[in-house]
């Protein structure tokens, strides 16, 4: 298992997905400005400055606790999705196991793609304001997402086919 987690086939896509996740969250939080910047008739320098400025805004516009949650969620999303992909690749065509893999893939997608993105998705639906009525003003969604992602990560690691052999069970 450690070999898989250290391999470049795992690390590169996991980190890439984590970075993409952070970019997605950053720009969804300022969708109006992001869209105007990308589609507007502005210079490349302007677009670059606004897009990088919004990334800096992650430090100034959210609390340190939420920053930690965001980074955790991004990393766990990257790890989970990469594990799902590697597992699907390794077990493709393996009859009933496909159902199990499909189940954990779905779980990872539900855990990462939906609950973790709760705020931006709700914001796009026009419902983000409702989060202010939750005791933690929406931080709950991030905490739930991290827990879901940790759970899926744990189960995927636990059931990952680490060796391509059948082990003997010594009953002596």
């Amino acid at each position: 298992m450690q070999e898989i987690l250290r391999s470049k086939h795992f690390l590169i896509p996991a980190i890439a997905i984590a970075v993409l996740y952070i970019l997605l969250v950053t720009y969804l939080m300022n969708w109006s400005l992001f869209k105007d910047t990308l589609l507007g008739a502005y210079s490349v320098i302007y677009k670059w400055r606004i897009l990088t400025g919004l990334l800096q805004g992650l430090v100034t516009s959210i609390t340190p606790f939420v920053q930690i949650l965001l980074i955790l969620t991004a990393l766990l999303t990257g790890i989970n999705l990469t594990l799902v992909y590697l597992r699907l690749k390794a077990m493709r065509g393996n009859g009933k196991l496909n159902i199990m893999v499909g189940g954990s893939s779905m779980l990872a997608i539900v855990g990462s793609g939906c609950a973790a993105c709760g705020l931006p998705i709700l914001a796009l639906l026009g419902l983000s304001g409702s989060l202010v009525y939750l005791p933690g003003h929406g931080t709950e969604l991030s905490v739930i997402a991290v827990l879901l992602l940790l759970t899926t990560f744990y189960y995927m690691i636990k059931s990952y086919p680490t060796e391509q052999v059948c082990k003997l069970i010594n009953k002596a």
Binding site: M29, N30, W31, S32, L33, K35, D36, T37, L39, Y42, Y46, R49, I50, G53, L54, Q56, G57, V59, T60, S61, I62, K96, L97, I99, M100, G103, S104, M106, L107, V110, G111, C114, A115, G118, L122, A123, L124, L125, G126, L127, S128, G129, S130, L131, V132, Y133, L134, H137, L141, I144, L148, T151, T152, Y155, S159, L168, I169, N170, K171
Partner: protein, 270 residues
């Protein structure tokens, strides 16, 4: 050890046992999947219910109207891209004929508004407002869970009532300086004390505050912010000043760094 000896050491696994292992794993996965979907559904469902009952029902004065009586205004996604926003009759800081306007939709009890007041506004004042290039307009967007924000917004309007825009911004500065920005970061009994310290007529100020003279004005700002797609504070619009007292600009949400503002202002000044 020959092949037969190895074979003998392997415990026999009957078909029902192997099916059971697969079934248990499958069931465990399905259980987790179902649980996740349920949690997700509860989050979305809960948000929709909260939204329907608390946020999306437009308010009249200080009361929340029933969503059954009035049309839902936030059931559609907030507008994206540039939007026309009015300066209304709200207080202006800086040159009234400045070519660029910044509108802030703010909440006196919002910690990120306080952060913007402390870190961003001084830089904007130094580089753009005091040099006549930009005018700054503060509009109220008191969030409902910030208990004292609405009254503080009304108090600033009462200060303006006596001393105009300059008086408004002196009061505005004092609120942000003194509040801890946690919803009730400034006790309401402090409001007339601030008025007195700024040399305002305290009884007149108190009467203005008690009568709720500016409650509708604050509410109008809030509704305008909602219509403009503001979902949290601080919310900003930076655009070229129009002759019809409006600007057309995309919303900028949150306590963004000075570099974002500088880039947008410079673009508008071209």
């Amino acid at each position: 050890m020959d092949h037969n000896q190895i074979q003998n050491q392997i415990p026999p696994v009957n078909e029902s046992e192997s099916k059971g292992v697969v079934r248990n794993s499958y069931e465990r996965m399905m259980w987790m999947l179902s649980g996740s979907i349920i949690v997700f559904a509860l989050i979305i469902g809960g948000s929709i219910i909260f939204a329907a009952n608390n946020i999306i029902a437009p308010r009249i004065g200080n009361t929340v109207a029933s969503s059954a009586q009035l049309p839902i205004v936030e059931s559609t996604p907030p507008p994206s891209g540039p939007i026309k926003v009015s300066l209304d009759n709200d207080p202006v800081m800086g040159n009234k004929d400045a070519p660029v306007t910044i509108i802030e939709f703010g909440d006196f009890e919002c910690p990120f508004c306080k952060k913007s007041f402390e870190e961003l506004l001084p830089q904007l004042k130094r580089d753009y407002i005091d040099t006549g290039k930009v005018k700054f307009v503060y509009r109220d967007f008191p969030l409902d869970f910030h208990e004292n924000a609405r009254k503080e917004a009304e108090a600033a309007e009462c200060a303006r009532d006596q001393g105009g825009d300059a008086s408004y911004y002196k009061y505005h500065d004092q609120i942000y300086t003194q509040t801890e920005s946690n919803g009730t970061g400034l006790v309401l009994t402090q409001l007339p004390v601030i008025a007195k310290s700024l040399g305002l007529n305290t009884p007149q100020f108190q009467q203005c505050l008690d009568s709720g003279k500016y409650a509708d004005e604050v509410e109008k700002d809030y509704q305008d912010g909602m219509s403009a797609g503001i979902t949290g504070t601080p919310g900003w619009f930076i655009g070229k000043s129009n002759t019809d007292n409006t600007i057309t600009a995309p919303a900028v949400e949150g306590a963004q760094p000075y570099s974002v503002f500088k880039t947008m202002i410079e673009e508008q000044l071209k």
